[in-house]
Amino acid sequence: MAIRERMSGNEAVATAMRQINPDVMGAFPITPSTEIPEYFSQFMADGLVDTQFVPVESEHSAMSVCIGASAAGARAVTATSSAGLAYMWELLYVAASSRLPMTMAVANRALTGPISIGNDHSDSMGARDSGWIQIYAESNQEVYDNFIQGVTITEATRIPVMICQDGFITSHGVSNIELLEDEKVREYIGEYEPEDYLLNSDHPLAVGPYGTAPYYMEVKRQQAQAMKDAMPVILEAAEKYGKITGRNYGFFEEYRMEDAEVAVVVIGSSAGTGKAAVDRMREEGKKAGLIKLRVFRPFPRIPLAEAMCRVKAVAIMDKAESFSNSGGPLFSEARSALYDLPQRPLAINYIYGLGGRDITVEDFDRIYDELFAIEKSGDPGDVYRYIGVRDSRDGEGQER
């Protein structure tokens, strides 16, 4: 029987960590993920976990702790946000390229500047090329479920996993959740038995050697293959999890897409707000749909393109700028995925929600209205757009 509870996304992640009972946690606090090590250290104090809790002086060191622990053969976790993730940067690559399993909770927060503690995805989107698997959550329930699945995914693929949720919006928002019993979590993740690890004196091992030009590229190519091979592993982990919880996950969720004519593609908590707009559109007889991307790395290029190509017009939403003058990171990749299809929808990009800017059901209403207009006219106009930003040209009817 599932345990009905109410808690914030941060408490949900910390609870998942308690149930996982990892060998090592590297910990350094940063808003809005600070509560995760706080809750966890309470679990430590209460004797509920056997974890080696390593409080360090920076996120650079917290990630280093996880790297050392994972190489030694331990199950390692950590949590961070924003500048903390940025400070881990070089180590993110070390962990991924050394093929060290670990699971990191990210409570997404904007990067400076201006200085902000508000939510957006610029921190983890900036780390999108570091070689980590990235899984995003709409709710506290999803971040809990994703974190537990993350442990099995990282250990099966030997690729570190980032489990992302929207800072404050879900990290600090309390709502209903169904938890698994501790023993079910432990049964699901199993014992961690790495094949090779530094503390195994019977089989000496060297980790992280220098890679000269004749070797470096072969290592990277193999790493790229591992990311490709992670695709079925992620689905298997979700299927196994679905069997014990009844909650089913894939690379993305399709909401009312069966006969949709237009769709929004969005990551994270805003998907829930978008779903309410879809319901409203449907009540008016308008065929709107929504695709919530859950797995951003590896990027589910082919299935996502196939889902998008069933509509006439699609708005791809980015909660991060990439200053490319060509749209945000999700837009660049999702639109590129459409290129191989003979028939593809018109695609526009909206940058939204930067630095904690709220996005409402009414904002999504406007996006859907725009998509229906584009569907009708066949002209997407300027594809690189913002929503939710004050603009001196508002009301002048200008194209932006």
């Binding site: 050394s98 980790v207 004749p214 070797y215 290592v219 193999q222």
Partner: protein, 102 residues
């Protein structure tokens, strides 16, 4: 699973066969790298002058002075880079230092 040995990893290895994360599954693989090729000066062991104090052994950065039964032997020229540290530390002038002539 049978592990690939360091000896089998060379510049012909494909991405499929290289080890995950470039891990190496055995110790002391540096012996496969013939750093002796780099030498421009070479130490010459003068056995007659040597008192077997073995001071040169820990100073050698490349572990190129083999010791057997408490006595040092001639240099391991496959790995000696010719740095000359042993020449400097020898208290008995038992190591000469000459230009390498291959």
């Amino acid at each position: 699973m049978k592990k690939i040995r360091a000896k089998e990893i060379n510049e012909k290895i494909t991405w499929q066969d290289i080890t995950p994360g470039a891990e190496i599954y055995e110790p002391a693989t540096s012996r496969y790298v013939q750093t002796g090729d780099w030498r421009v000066m070479r130490p010459e062991f003068i056995e007659d002058k040597c008192k077997q104090c073995l001071l040169c052994v820990p100073f050698c950065p490349d572990s190129s002075i083999p010791v057997k039964d408490g006595r040092r032997g001639d240099f391991d020229f496959a790995h000696c880079k010719g740095c000359g540290i042993c020449v400097r530390v020898c208290p008995f002038d038992a190591i000469d230092f000459v230009k390498e002539d291959r």
